[in-house]
């Protein structure tokens, strides 16, 4: 599996490097579909320029990245070479150090699953060795496509982020598949599945290429490529979320808590991923979700403490870096109150541009609540399937968040190959894919007609965003339906009969 993945990485990096060097990069980085006020690279550069001028980047309304992000970039831009060498060296050392440690642990601790849950790093070595591969690839690229631009190294940063996301997704889905297969085996052994649903069962052969497909869906998705070429920081946020998923699936609660806190800190909305992560750990530890059980509460509090604790540490760290709390209204206030109405692919901009002033607060609450609203019912419905729940949550975030970009869409779309076994139950995948493709093509066309040609008006672009979101909602709802239906068939049999023995149709009641 390593060879195709390496090849995929090289292809992906090459495509991006070529685009970076072409004249398209400038065009792409100005597209409103690709960058939003929250993650536009131009605004990061502006923030850095303000820092250089001695003005707080949060004193204006252009910069909305978190303090850690700006200091990361400040450091990367200024000391790019050093960072590069040090990180490579550090990673090298770490992997050398971790590999024997991990093996030793495995050997000594036979039931490490339970005892070392909080502080183990299984799979880290794997990820790290891949990380080295990426860096080597990028070094290769760097010397081939050497540019005199000041921000060349930042391009590498974005490429690395994409590579990490893809790898993390690859490894997570691999783990997940193993898990799924194991559970399926237990269920079969304990006769929990109905007899005629053999064709619904998943075979290792069919599952073998799924992780690769997931990585490919992420790396070669035009949305991801555009997002990376535009140097949108969305790629970095995706990397954090992907790493969080990876750590969760590998069972490291501490790392998962830290990364979830980091993702929350970056853009608030991943807060809703707390529920699926918690459900996953509970399932992994065979703790039943029972509010009267102390073990349930013990673990929940433990995980919540890790999450909240790291959130407090990260926020505190930003405070000490910046010396003020200015970033809270400037980042989170900006996300919630939606003051910037620059068009994007989401539902907010035109709605709030046309909103009556006295309803503004009400409707911003209604629209923001959409992201958080589905968490609890979905968690109840999908409590046995936390990974699918993660997918649902990420999709809902990317549809209902206030400044969505195509990079967010790309993240949940990467999961679609993992649900390829649901394909037979999807009702309108053809329609949805046509809608999404047509919308993606029409976005730039209608934008041009409105903004440059002046022959269309804002309604044209708005109509397309509406349709795009409609398509996304249909897609997610369809996958949800298919997932539930497959679960139903697994327990009740595939070919259902009516009372009179004729073939029955399934309906939702």
């Amino acid at each position: 599996m390593a060879a195709p993945l390496t090849l995929l990485l090289i292809v992906a990096v090459t495509i991006r490097a070529v685009l970076f060097r072409s004249s398209l990069a400038e065009l792409i980085s100005a597209r409103v579909e690709v960058v939003s006020p929250l993650n536009a690279w131009k605004r990061v550069v502006e923030g850095l320029a303000l820092l250089d001028l001695g003005v707080s980047p949060y004193s204006g309304d252009v910069f909305h990245e978190t303090p850690l992000m700006i200091y990361l970039f400040h450091f990367t831009v200024d000391y790019a070479e050093i960072v590069f060498i040090v990180s490579a060296y550090f990673v090298d050392c770490l992997s050398c150090f971790l590999k024997p440690l991990d093996r030793a642990k495995m050997a000594i601790n036979s039931n490490y699953l339970k005892s070392d849950l909080l502080f183990n790093f299984p799979g880290c070595c794997e990820l790290i060795s891949w990380f080295i591969t990426i860096i080597v690839c990028l070094c290769f690229c760097k010397f081939h496509f050497l540019c005199t631009c000041k921000y060349t190294d930042v391009r590498l940063c974005h490429q690395i982020a994409d590579g990490i996301t893809a790898l993390a997704l690859y490894l997570s889905i691999q783990t997940y598949n193993k898990d799924v297969f194991r559970k399926q085996k237990y269920a079969l052994e304990s006769d929990r599945y109905s007899a005629d649903c053999l064709e619904l069962l998943r075979s290792p052969k069919e599952m073998f290429y799924i992780p690769l497909k997931v990585a490919m869906f992420y790396l070669l998705n035009p949305f991801t490529i555009l997002s990376c070429v535009a140097k949108s920081t969305c790629g970095l946020n995706n990397a954090i979320i992907a790493l969080f998923i990876f750590c969760t699936l590998k069972g490291s609660a501490l790392l998962s808590g830290i990364l979830l806190a980091l993702a929350t800190y970056q853009s608030i909305y991943p807060l809703t991923l707390f529920a699926p992560a918690l459900l996953f750990f509970l399932q992994r530890l065979y703790i039943p979700v029972n509010l009267r059980r102390s073990s349930f509460w013990f673990f929940t509090l433990q995980y919540a403490f890790m999450y909240v604790g790291s959130l407090v540490v990260i926020t505190g760290l930003s405070f000490f870096l910046l010396g003020s709390w200015d970033f809270i209204p400037s980042v989170y206030g900006f996300i919630f109150s939606v003051p910037d109405l620059t068009p994007n692919i989401g539902l907010f901009w035109y709605f709030f541009a046309e909103m009556f002033e006295h309803f503004r607060l009400f409707f911003s609450c209604v629209f923001q609540i959409n992201v958080f609203f589905y968490t609890i019912p979905l968690s109840i419905k999908l409590k046995e399937h936390p990974v699918f729940l993660i997918f649902m949550q990420i999709a809902i975030i990317s549809i209902f968040k206030s400044y969505p970009t195509v990079g967010d869409v790309a993240l949940y779309m990467a999961f679609l190959p993992a649900w390829s076994h649901l394909y037979r139950f999807l009702r309108n995948i053809f329609l949805v894919s046509c809608v999404l493709l047509a919308c993606s093509a029409l976005f730039p066309v209608l934008w041009h007609l409105w903004i440059y040609a002046g022959s269309a008006n804002s309604n044209f672009y708005y109509a397309i965003t509406l349709l795009f979101n409609f398509g996304q909602i249909l897609l997610v709802a369809d996958y949800f339906y298919a997932y539930l239906r497959r679960e139903h068939h697994l327990t009740h049999g595939l070919y259902l009969k009516k009372k009179d023995g004729t073939e029955a149709t399934l309906v939702l009641k």
């Binding site: 910037d340 019912p377 008006n457 804002s458 509406l466 409609f470 909602i473 339906y481 009641k509």
Partner: protein
């Protein structure tokens, strides 16, 4: 308001002066009026009125209560004391001053309305005072100054220093705002004239007829209030009110192609007397270019020389307080007759212009071009830009180039905008190389506003106020070291300091920028459509979350159900 000017009149009666001056023995208010006429090289004519009222009081001192007004308008005096104003400058301008054709104006002003105020440093709530002050001034001058709020107010750190007494440097007490869209007309002129001690009844002010003044290429009226020294030792303070009115008449349109000018043609009035309250009342005519360019009649023996804006000018002076000025007709009607086309004008040493580059409604670039026409001297200029928040400036795209080389500003003060709260403020100190063109560019992004934030005519565009270039320009007198004709040799070797450079403020054109607009006709449609999509999402998730899969058992047809009903009554097995 009328009452206050009436009181102003009454209080000047000699009997009352005796009473009121018991507290300040020897303090006398003063009023001077002056008109400067300068024929411009373009053939236009520039008339500049100045009315100066000195108010001998110092109400900013503790325990000082002012209730008595002589020449100073009470409406302004009350505003000054109520809001603890240290200095106030307000101008209303219609039209744009064409520096390249007309040279430098005596008192520059940007198109539209401009207001800048220094508050006294005892003021605790400067923003509150500023808000109230703009509303009061809005009433006094019948102007839309009440549209000045935090979104177009800035606090320049270096460009606007106090012009009067005291060297306040804390720019927290300074507020500056422009309204580039303000249209100036008769309703602004009438209250302005009422502030004069003689109103428009006597003196130079009789010339201020609005039907003529607004039939011109450029019209600017201003009020400047500042504290000045009463005497040379500066033992006591006085308040100076300068009312200025500058107007440029277009020769060709108003004169039907004839190059002939008279006071009557310009103002449809002649001068017959000075304002009785004025201590001095003079008309100056710039005759530096006489007799090559024009001929002036009646000729006057009184000549005066002055260095104005770095240039030595000669003026004919007509003193209206002297009876012989008016001659036998008891009226003064100056007549200027052009003798042919004007020669080449010396280019102004400092000149600036500005425009927006780029196409489409997404981004754009503001270009400010500053010219230094001095042949061998470099000098620094302060450039101040105040850009509304809906044009998001990207300061990292700021470039300053002169002579196609990067010219890094030695000082940058940048305050980024806050959406709907504060405009961008950019101040830079740029060194202009001699005989050069310096270009300052900065990119911006146009925001989409809420539909209620657009002006009634949104596709007309949004105005961005002029940028302000302030500089100490090397004087032409100092430049001309070979100029020894009417100057003794001993005085011309080392240029005199006062004359070596002079302060100039140049305003660029205001910008008109288009923003993308939403469709104003469909708020309801948008609300309905967006909510529908959200409801589709909600509905489909709700469906899947609350319902379960069940086998669809079709219900019996109606006939069978009826039959079953009867069968149930009869106690017979039911049909299926």
């Amino acid at each position: 308001f009328r009452l206050s000017s009436l009181i102003g009149h009454i209080s000047t009666c000699p009997s009352l002066i005796g009473q009121c001056c018991q507290r300040h023995p020897g303090s006398v208010d003063e009023f001077q009026e002056e008109l400067v006429i300068r024929p411009l090289h373009s053939g236009d004519i520039y008339a500049s009125f100045q009315f100066r009222t000195l108010w001998d009081t110092d109400f900013l001192q503790e325990g000082q209560k002012v209730s008595h007004y002589r020449l100073f308008p009470k409406s302004l005096g009350q505003v000054l004391s109520k809001f603890s104003v240290r200095e106030l400058h307000i101008s209303f301008t219609q039209g744009f001053w064409r520096t390249m054709q007309w040279g430098q104006p005596f008192i520059p002003s940007p198109p539209g309305a401009e207001l800048w105020v220094w508050f006294h440093d005892t003021v605790s709530d400067v923003d509150g005072n500023w808000k109230e002050l703009t509303n009061v001034l809005s009433g006094i001058f019948c102007a839309s100054l009440n549209f000045i709020d935090l979104t177009n107010t800035v606090q320049p750190s270096a460009s606007f220093k106090p012009l009067g007494l005291g060297n306040a440097t804390d720019h927290r007490f300074l507020r500056y705002a422009t309204l580039p869209r303000e249209i100036v007309c008769t309703e602004n002129l009438t209250p302005w004239k009422k502030l004069l001690p003689c109103g428009s009844k006597a003196g130079l002010a009789v010339l201020l007829k609005s039907e003529k003044l607004f039939h011109s290429s450029f019209h600017s009226q201003a009020v400047h209030i500042r504290p000045v020294c009463q005497d040379e030792q500066c033992t006591s303070k006085a308040w100076e009110l300068r009312q200025t009115l500058n107007v440029v008449f277009d020769l060709y349109t108003a004169g039907q192609g004839k190059k002939e000018w008279s006071l009557f043609k310009m103002f449809s009035r002649t001068l017959t007397e000075a304002c009785p309250l004025a201590t001095s009342s003079k008309v100056y005519v710039d005759i530096t270019d006489n007799p090559e360019l024009f001929e002036l009649s009646p000729a006057t023996p009184l000549l005066s020389q002055a260095v104005v804006l770095g240039d030595r000018r000669t003026y004919s002076v007509f003193d209206l307080t002297r009876a012989e000025t008016f001659g036998q007709l008891r009226s003064l009607n100056l007549l200027l007759r052009w003798k042919g086309d004007g020669g080449e004008m010396l280019r102004p040493l400092l000149h600036a212009e500005r425009y927006v580059a780029g196409f489409g409604l997404q981004t754009g670039e503001i270009h400010t071009v500053i010219y230094n026409n001095h042949p061998y001297r470099a000098f620094p200029v302060l450039l101040m830009d105040s850009v509304p928040w809906y044009l998001q400036l990207y300061i990292h795209t700021l470039t300053v180039t002169s002579k196609s080389r990067d010219n890094k500003p030695s000082y940058i003060h940048y305050q980024p905008a806050k959406d709907r709260h504060r405009p961008h403020l950019l101040e830079m100190l740029i060194q202009l190389p001699p005989h050069s063109m310096t270009e300052v560019t900065v990119q911006f992004e146009r925001a989409l506003l809420k539909w209620t934030e657009y002006t009634p005519d949104p596709n007309h565009g949004f105005y961005v106020g002029s940028s302000v270039v302030s500089a100490l320009v090397p004087s032409m007198v100092a430049m001309n070291t070979n100029f020894t004709q009417d100057q003794p040799l001993f005085s011309s070797f080392v240029p005199v300091k006062e004359e070596s450079s002079y302060f100039v403020r140049v305003y660029t054109e205001p910008l008109l920028v288009n923003l993308p607009t939403p469709d104003f006709s469909m708020p309801y449609n948008v609300i309905c459509l967006t909510c529908t999509v959200v409801a589709v999402g909600y509905g489909s998730f709700y469906n899947l979350l609350t319902r379960t899969f069940q086998v669809d058992e079709p219900s019996l047809p109606l006939a069978k159900r009826l039959a079953n009903l009867i069968r149930r009554i009869r106690g017979v097995p039911l049909l299926t």
